[in-house]
C-alpha cells in the first residue's frame, strides 16, 4: 500500500446506500460507520438486507443509490478483486479440486507470490486456525468445523484490513458453534482487523460483537453495543428480535403505570427475567410495578423455568425464573396458581407507538 492508512476515516462508511431488486427494497437508505478494528455484527431475520449489505462491501453486489467507502476510498464501482477485503462464505466455498493448502494459498497464488514463501505462509495460517499438517488433504476429507477453519485461513492469508463473515457458523452444531464463537473472537483480537459478521442468531451477536446493527426490512433499526441494544431497545422490533420481551398493551400499561387517562398513550416492554413471581398479597414497594394474574402455562427448561401469566387486566406476561430452589415437580405444580408479578419500574423500556 502506497499511502498510509487514514486513521481518521472509518473502516467502512455507508452513505444513504440503497439496493433494489426490481420492486423489492433489499437495502433501504442505510447509513453506517464501522470503526477500524471492531467486531461489528449485522443482525436481522432472513431477508432483512444484512447479507446484501455484506455483499456490497465485498463487491459481489453494487448499490442502486448511495456510496460505500473503505478506509476513506470510495469502492462503490470496484470489482471484488480490487478491494482490500476478504470473505468467509456461508457454504465455505472451498475449491473442491484443490487441496487444503492450495485453497488457503489461492490468494497468494494469484498474486504470484514465490512458492517457498507461499508454502510457509499457508502453514502459518493453518497453525493460526489450529489445523496444522492438513495442507495435503482435500476439502471433502474434512469435517464441517475443519472446512470452516480452512475458509477462515484462506480469507485471512492476504492480510485484508476487513474480514467479512456471512453466517459462517450456521451449519455447525451447537457445541462446535459456541467453541468457534470464542475462537473467532480470539483470532480477531490476535490479527487486529475489522470483522464484519452477518448472523440471524441474536445470542451469537450478543456474545461476539463490540457493536451491532439490527436490520429489518432493509433498514437499520438500531446501532449500539450488545448491552445497549439488549437493555435499551429502540424499537418494538429490536425488543422482540434481540432476546425475548413482553409487550404491554397501551391500555394495560396505563393502569400498571398509574397514568391519568388524559396523558399521551404509552407502551413499554419488559424482559421476562426482570419479573419476579410473588404471593398474591405481597406488598408493592416504592418504584415497583405490579400486576396480578394466574399462571396459565409452565415450561421447565432445566436451567430455568418459563411461566406464562394471564393478567387480570387482560393480556399476558412471560416470566423466567432461575431454578434456584425449584424442582421440576414444584415448577409444574404452579400451573393455575394466582400470583402477583413484581418488577422494578427502571426496567420498563418505553417504546414509541408508531401508527
Amino acid at each position: 500500500m502506497t499511502n498510509p492508512p487514514n486513521t481518521a476515516s472509518p473502516a467502512i462508511r455507508f452513505e444513504n446506500v440503497s439496493r433494489y431488486f426490481g420492486e423489492v427494497r433489499a437495502v433501504d437508505n442505510v447509513s453506517l460507520d464501522i470503526v477500524d478494528g471492531e467486531f461489528f455484527t449485522l443482525l436481522g431475520p432472513s431477508g432483512s438486507g444484512k447479507t446484501t449489505c455484506l455483499r456490497m462491501i465485498a463487491g459481489f453486489d453494487h448499490p442502486t443509490a448511495g456510496t460505500i467507502h473503505l478506509h476513506g476510498r470510495e469502492v462503490s464501482g470496484l470489482p471484488p478483486y480490487e478491494r482490500d477485503v476478504n470473505t468467509v462464505f456461508q457454504d465455505y466455498a472451498l475449491f473442491p479440486h484443490m487441496t487444503v493448502g492450495e485453497n488457503v494459498g489461492y490468494g497468494l497464488m494469484v498474486k504470484k507470490t514465490p512458492k517457498a514463501e507461499r508454502e510457509k505462509r499457508v502453514e502459518d495460517m493453518l497453525e493460526l486456525v489450529r489445523l496444522p499438517g492438513l495442507a495435503r488433504r482435500k476439502p471433502s476429507q474434512l469435517s464441517g468445523g475443519q472446512r470452516q477453519r480452512v475458509a477462515l485461513a484462506r480469507a485471512l492469508i492476504n492480510h485484508p484490513r476487513v474480514l467479512l463473515l456471512d453466517e459462517p457458523l450456521g451449519a455447525l452444531d451447537l457445541k462446535l458453534r459456541q467453541q468457534m464463537q470464542i475462537e473467532l473472537k480470539a483470532i480477531q483480537q490476535r490479527v487486529g482487523i475489522t470483522f464484519i459478521y452477518v448472523t440471524h442468531d441474536q445470542e451469537e451477536a450478543l456474545t461476539m460483537s463490540d457493536r451491532l446493527a439490527v436490520f429489518d426490512h432493509g433498514r437499520i433499526q438500531q446501532v449500539g453495543s450488545p448491552a445497549e441494544v439488549y437493555e435499551h431497545p429502540a424499537t418494538a422490533f429490536v425488543a422482540g428480535f434481540v432476546g425475548v420481551s413482553n409487550f404491554v398493551d397501551a391500555k394495560v400499561a396505563r393502569v400498571i403505570l398509574g397514568q391519568p387517562s388524559s396523558d399521551e398513550p404509552q407502551t413499554f416492554t419488559i424482559r421476562p427475567e426482570k419479573i419476579r413471581l410473588a404471593e398474591p398479597d405481597a406488598p408493592v414497594s416504592e418504584g415497583m410495578c405490579s400486576a396480578d394474574g394466574r399462571i396459565r402455562d409452565v415450561v421447565y427448561l432445566g436451567m430455568h423455568t418459563r411461566y406464562v401469566v394471564e393478567l387480570e387486566l387482560g393480556g399476558e406476561l412471560t416470566v423466567v425464573e432461575q431454578n434456584l430452589n425449584t424442582t421440576s415437580m414444584g415448577a409444574l405444580a404452579a400451573r393455575g396458581r394466582r400470583v402477583r408479578l413484581l418488577w422494578s419500574k427502571a426496567h420498563n423500556q418505553t417504546i414509541v407507538v408508531s401508527r
Binding site: 465485498a58 463487491g59 459481489f60 470489482p79 471484488p80 478483486y81 477485503v85 476478504n86 470473505t87 462464505f89 456461508q90 457454504d91 466455498a93 472451498l94 475449491f95 473442491p96 479440486h97 489461492y106 490468494g107 497464488m109 494469484v110 498474486k111 484462506r154 480469507a155 492476504n158
Partner: protein
Amino acid sequence: MAPRSSASPWQRLSSFIYLRPWLLLALLLGPPMLWMVVVYLGSLFALLLQSFFSLDDFTGRVVREFTLRTYASLFTAANFDIFWRTTAMAAAVTLAAAILAFPLAYFMARYASPQAKAALYLAVVMPLWSSYLIRVYAWRLILAKEGVLSWFLDLVGLGGVLEWVLRLPEIGGNSLSFSPIGMFLVFLYVWLPYMIIPIQTALERVPRSLLEASSDLGARPGETFRHVILPLAFPGVVAGSIFTFSLTLGDYIIPQVIGNSSFFIGMAVYSHQGTSGNVPLAAAFTVVPIAIMAVYLVMAKRLGAFDAL
C-alpha cells in the same frame, strides 16, 4: 393394527419384497444386466472373436482358427493413412466442438433466464429430432458449388476467401461438399449438441460462491476461468469429447456423402464386411477405434480430467 391375514395379496407381496432387499435388487437390475451382458457385451465379444479368424483367399470363406494374420494385414501404409485421416478428423472436430460449445454452455448455465435456457436447450437438441441422413444430404446441398453458402459468401464479397481455402492442399477440394473441410463442417454440425449438453451440465454444478470466492481472493475474471471454472468443467468437456471423438471415429455415412471419397475407418469396416465379405478384417478394423479411444481416455486421465468428479 389390522391382523396379518386381512392384508391383500398385493400388500403381502410388497412386504415380502420390502423385507428382502436382495430380491428387489435382482428384480431391478436383472433386465438391464441381461441386456448389457448378453446382447451388448456378447456382440462385442463375438466381434473380437471374429477378428482372430482369417479369410481364406482362395475359397473366400472364414477359417475359424485362432490367428493373428488378420491383425498383421492391418499394418499396411494404406491402412495407416486411413487411421491417421480418421483420428485427425476426430481430433479436429472435437477441438472445434469444445471451443464452440463452451461459451454457449457457459451462457446457458450462468446467465440465461429459465425461459431462455429452455429455449436454448430446445434449439440445441431439436436437430436430433430429424433424420441424420436427411440432414447430411441437406448439408451436401448447402456446401455444393452452386449452394447457398458459396452464394452467400459471394454476396458479402468473401468468395475469394472460399476459393483460397479450397485451394489449400490436403483439406481443400473442388467445392466444399467434395473437400475434407466440408466434411469437417458437417461432422461439427452433427455432433455439436453432444458437446454442449455435458459441458452445460458440468458448469451448472459449479456453485456461484466458488466464483465469488475466487474474485474475492484477488483473481481477475481470466484467472478465475483458468483456475476454477475450467478445471471444474473439464469432466464435462471430456464427457462431450468422448461422444464427438468416438462418433467421428466410427461414422461411415458422412465420409461417403461429403468429401473426396478417401477412406475413413467406418467406410473401411463397411466395405470389408459388405462387398468383400471379409468379416475378420472388418472386425479387426473395428478394434482400432476402440484402441484409439482407450489411449484417448488414458491421456484424459493423465491431464486430470476426472480429478474433479
